[in-house]
């Protein structure tokens, strides 16, 4: 075997084992987080509700504006792009159907999660990374306080709760974006758009989006916490962790969405 080929195979092997190690570490963090969450629910030791509410404001409330802006434009873009095609088929009245079916189970949870990864995920990775560098994590441990319980649990819980809320906000705003184009640009009546929405919107559209948002929130928050907690090498390490947390979160969201979409296709398919 030539040196180049062997080198390539060795590199692939090392990436493979590195990747497996990463997933293993993430899984371990996830299980440990779940353990501390369950212990928190039965009150031994109790959940840190003040930290949870602080993180919920930071992760969710402050992101509402950006989420609303992004989804207003997503709704408008979809409407502008699809309106001429639908008109050709004589189905312009069905614009609301397309908006609802594309946004509620797919676009809203995905884009809300991506905004979350850039908005909160990066901040979490940077914050925890800085805490590692400034020995704050070690200080916690030496006070007999578990960093998973103390730092990771409130962040993961806050992301789960707030991403669900943000996804609902995204649903409504993107729909409103579609409605805006429908009435203001296409000069059609809002009542038609509304009636079509009511007739096609089913619980499944909302639930699928919310279930996905739960998975994405766990993914983004765990990746960010994991990247932050394993920082080494000072300020440069913190920068690297921040970038990696966003990149890995976005890739993870898309991969996870693919798996969930296939799952729903077989077990809970969309219906006309």
């Amino acid at each position: 075997m030539s040196l180049g080929v062997r080198d390539t195979i060795e590199k692939l092997g090392s990436y493979g084992t590195g990747g497996l190690g990463y997933v293993g570490g993430l899984g371990y963090l996830g299980l440990d987080t779940l353990r501390w969450m369950l212990r928190g629910l039965v009150g031994r030791p109790k959940l840190r509700l003040d930290a949870l509410s602080f993180q919920m404001v930071r992760v969710g409330v402050k992101a509402i504006g950006i989420i609303a802006l992004v989804h207003l434009f997503i709704g408008m873009i979809l409407a502008f792009e699809l309106a001429p095609i639908l008109e050709d088929y004589g189905m312009l009245s069905q614009l609301a159907t397309i908006i609802v079916k594309a946004v509620f189970p797919q676009l809203a949870p995905i884009f809300a999660a991506i905004v979350l990864s850039g908005f909160a995920g990066a901040a979490i990775a940077a914050e925890l990374g800085t805490m590692v560098v400034s020995e704050e994590i070690l200080a916690l441990e030496t006070m007999g306080l578990n960093p998973i319980r103390f730092l990771v649990v409130p962040r993961v819980l806050a992301c789960i709760v707030m991403l669900a809320c943000l996804t609902l906000v995204a649903d409504v705003v993107a729909w409103a974006g579609g409605l805006l184009v429908y009435t203001a640009a296409l000069n059609l009546r809002w009542r038609e758009f509304y009636d079509v929405t009511i007739s096609v919107l089913v619980a499944r559209d909302l639930w699928v989006g919310l279930i996905k948002s739960g998975f994405f929130a766990v993914l983004v928050s765990l990746v960010s916490c994991y990247e932050g907690l394993r920082v080494s090498g000072g300020a440069e390490g913190v920068g690297r962790a921040t970038t990696r947390s966003v990149v890995l979160s976005i890739v993870g969201i898309i991969v996870c969405n693919m798996i969930l979409t296939v799952f729903f296709f077989y077990f809970w398919p969309a219906q006309a």
């Binding site: 805490m131 020995e135 006070m143 306080l145």
Partner: protein, 269 residues
Amino acid sequence: MTEPQESIIELRGATKRFDGRTVIDRLDLAVMPGETIVIMGSSGCGKSTTLRMMIGDYLPEEGSVRIFGQDLTTLDEAAMNALRKRFGILFQSGALFNSMTVADNIALPLREHAELDENVIHIVVKMKLELVGLRDFEHLMPAQLSGGMKKRVGLARAVSLDPEILFYDEPTAGLDPIATGVTDTLIRDLSKKLGVTSVVVTHDMASAFRIADRMAMLYRGELIALGTPDEIRASSDPRVKQFVEGLADGPIPLRQSSKDYAADLLGQV
């Protein structure tokens, strides 16, 4: 005849390696209750690693580390956490939680480990801040404090649970001479007032001689001297002499590289 006193911290044959490189080599050291022991040595001699082994952050590959008679290598997480409530640590940077006020930093161990009423916690926080002379600073955030103040708040936090042992990691590093003097006085006062055992890791010689009851000097992971400040000052070991007097020339080399310089430049090693 009095019974020999039992040590509160005991390292026996403790060895620590990183990536095959031995950083601490079969270290034997016993710390007696109530004393202030200073562990000193040049950068990279293993003094911080020794401290980390004592607080259970690193476990030795060989040998044992015992605190209050318990072997750290055999403890599970819960037992280790219970043990950690009995000692406090002042980190080099203070390691204050930047998202919390000074008062919340000090109150944190109390809130988590002691079932106290908030009013009582507030009083204890004031008392601890008074110990370090910063009672009026409780509402400030760590970012609003100077380096010396951060260390003093870190010290107040370290003593919040009334520990039996206090560990100090380079308590005077980066401080001006006055702040150094204040910190030294604080360390002496705290061990006298609270009767705690203190382990101080430092390479600041002036400070070390001011606060130590006994001094231990490490060189390349080995203990090369142990004694009272007077004994250390009078030591005939040239390495100890060089370090204590801060001499550039002596058995402790400036250059850490073992390769031949010329051969290294020519790429022959």
